[in-house]
């Protein structure tokens, strides 16, 4: 984007407000995209010809990566490429393409890197199934460890019953009259 030095815009004669001067081009550019007819006089219409398609596009764009940015989705980013690709997706939706087709279109040009939801394929099997395996494996390992531990303690003669010393201690605690005794 070219930066112009401040002050190089000249105010036209007769323009009263700084802000009118500031935005004098914006109106023309934006009117093109704004729905005008059909909306009631008071309830504000959503920007864009087709709000439902717009939302569909943003839904898709939220799972796609902006390649010119540091970790932003295509939906959030204002980078030039992101603006272009959002427009591209709008056009593809208007042409009736399915989500799958749109994703393939972008994948063919930019590779898997552009998907924030990694495709389930050979090199991502570990990624997608790893957590479930970790969970099941972990719980299984815990169960086995606990059983082995019990077996080892039994072998040492540690039983499930309270020892005499512990039983006496418990009785003392219950008899005590300070407010610290717990229930469980």
């Amino acid at each position: 984007m070219t930066l112009r030095a401040p002050g190089t815009h000249r105010r036209a004669i007769g323009q009263r407000s700084f802000w009118q001067w500031r935005y004098r081009h914006a109106a023309a550019a934006l009117l093109l995209g704004v729905a005008l007819a059909g909306a009631s006089a008071l309830e504000a219409p959503e920007v864009g010809d087709n709000p439902a398609a717009e939302r569909h596009m943003l839904q898709l764009a939220a799972e796609l990566r902006c390649l010119q940015c540091q970790n932003q989705t295509l939906a959030d980013s204002n980078a030039p490429l992101a603006v272009d690709l959002r427009q591209e997706i709008r056009e593809l939706i208007a042409k009736g393409q399915t989500d799958q087709q749109i994703k393939e279109y972008l994948g063919a040009r930019y590779g898997d890197f552009v998907f924030y939801r990694p495709p389930v394929q050979g090199n991502t099997l570990l990624l997608w199934f790893g957590p479930a395996l970790l969970l099941v494996g972990g719980l299984l390992a815990l169960y086995i460890t606990l059983r082995r531990r019990l077996a080892r303690l039994e072998a040492e003669g540690v039983t499930a019953e309270l020892s005499d010393a512990d039983a006496r201690r418990a009785q003392n605690l219950l008899d005590e009259e300070n407010g610290e005794s717990s229930l469980s």
Binding site: T2, L67, Q68, D84, R109, G111, D112, F113
Partner: protein, 180 residues
């Protein structure tokens, strides 16, 4: 009473960490933002665009079939392009292969002025004002350069400026091979 556990499992966390550290070390020398092109060894996308210098003329990718050529994306607003431009200008003087420019999201006036100022290594530049052809080629960072063979298949993509080392060590040998 001390119990000894299986001595192997206690080393597991350390082993996992060492493997992880190795990957992290390798990762330091990689660029997480570099996106390899899925178009390598695939046919270069077709385009028919107006020429930057001559509005009536059409630059058509099909015209380049039968030749090995370079497609270089550039723009007058692109600072890194200024870095590589002298390399390309020098290369174009002596090289056997044509360089076609893809003027990406620019204006005619700015583009022509830039070429006049920095030199014109291109046989012609295609004027891709909307950036659509750029999207077809997976362009996300200008400058990007594609090496395309006689059958119109992309054989190499450089993301970022073309350096003399890249030219000498990678591109020239590849060009020689593709030329037969």
């Amino acid at each position: 009473m001390a119990q000894s556990r299986k001595s192997l499992t206690v080393f597991l966390p350390l082993a996992v960490f060492l493997v992880l550290a190795w990957f992290l070390y390798k990762g330091l020398y990689l660029d997480p933002r570099e996106v390899p092109s899925p178009l390598i060894d695939k046919p270069a996308p077709d385009f028919r665009l107006e020429s930057l210098s001559t509005p009536g003329r059409i630059v058509d990718r099909k015209e380049m079939l039968g030749k090995v050529w370079l497609l270089n994306t550039w723009a007058s607003w692109c600072v890194a392009c200024r870095e590589e431009h002298p390399v390309l200008v020098e290369f174009s003087r002596t090289a056997s292969i044509p360089i076609v420019g893809l003027n990406y999201k620019d204006t005619r006036v700015d583009g022509m002025r830039w070429l006049a100022q920095f030199g014109n290594p291109y046989v012609d530049s295609a004027f891709d004002q909307a950036g659509r052809v750029g999207i077809d080629y997976g362009v996300y960072a200008v400058p990007e350069t594609f090496l395309i063979d006689k059958q119109g298949v992309i054989r190499f993509k450089q993301i970022g400026p073309v350096t003399p080392e890249l030219l000498q060590n990678t591109l020239v040998p590849l060009i020689q091979r593709l030329n037969g």
